[in-house]
Symmetry: C2
Subunit: 188 residues, 2 copies
């Protein structure tokens, strides 16, 4: 099979489509280039016609996961933060994947940029630093909650973790967002 044949049969978009569907099935730890290639019925080397590295492919998936935020340009900070969290929850291990791409400085910063704009509209001081801090909080919170939900789904959490321990998580999320955005201070 020639590389030309592969590259016409699959384009960058269709590789990313398959990888994102596979993420939902197997999770981030098992999302290997070999497995993605197998699903596309090509050799792993064929994927490198479209993505120079696995990190570049994961960055594309990160952009797709956060793409809904491109339509949230007029949201205020708290509804926007909730929308970011929900976008991360929409794919298995979505929070962990977006966190890892952000750590490497790869992928677009849709979510952080939207937060910074919302903070500027609210006249927050240090809007850039606050947007970064908000992203770190949202990513930490969402990664932890998503891992807990996944473990709950097959009964792997410790006894006592569950309804009681998760009931307060939305309240903790809102408190953290309002505090970092400076909204708590403005209100008081």
């Amino acid at each position: 099979m020639s590389p030309e044949h592969n590259s016409t049969r699959h384009d960058r978009d269709s590789v990313a489509d398959v990888a994102l569907a596979l993420l939902d099935e197997v999770g981030l730890a098992d999302l290997s280039m070999r497995r993605i290639a197998g699903r596309l019925d090509v050799q792993p080397s064929a994927l490198y016609w479209h993505f120079s590295s696995k990190q570049e492919l994961l960055a594309e998936l990160s952009d797709r996961i956060t793409a809904p935020l491109l339509r949230a340009v007029d949201d205020d900070v708290l509804p926007l933060a909730r929308r970011i969290r929900d976008a991360l929850f929409a794919y298995r291990d979505g929070a962990e994947l977006v966190l890892s791409s952000a750590a490497l400085g790869l992928g677009s910063a849709h979510a952080q940029t939207a937060l910074e704009h919302a903070l500027r509209r609210a006249d927050a001081d240090s809007p850039y630093d606050r947007a970064v801090a908000l992203m770190h909080f949202i990513l930490g919170h969402s990664t932890l909650v998503q891992q807990r939900m996944h473990a709950d789904s097959y009964g792997a959490t410790a006894s006592g973790v569950g309804d009681d321990a998760t009931a307060g998580l939305d309240r903790v999320f809102d408190l953290g967002i309002a505090a970092i955005a400076g909204l708590e201070r403005i209100r008081s």
Copy 2:
């Protein structure tokens, strides 16, 4: 080799010692029970005399990573938060490991308990919720920064991420901690 022989040769502590040293060498993704057993020169099944699951072993490692916080009972919130971050940084993938154990409700909550006590001493309202939110922020921030530092060490971050992008991270950390703790509000 009888199980009795294994269990006298290695106790729970020595298995955890070896696992923690191996974490630093190979990272969390490659820290398998098979590899830990190999280092101890026993069959993987022998590990289950001491830990009922890999999750239980990881929870023990999480407790060891956060053990320095047991000596930080009198710290104020910001120095305590920095001490937690530094404890996570002391082991490769320390932040990610502690985040995963916390997600499953496993391991001791040394760090969160110390934060809650510090918040109570500072008369913060909602000290429990703020302690949870602080942990989510510290874990998200530290996981991201630790992944970036590791990638930097072998040149895997995108160009432009590096000195400039990381210079502000300590400032972002302090801002996030002060805001979530309610210290920002108190000061203003």
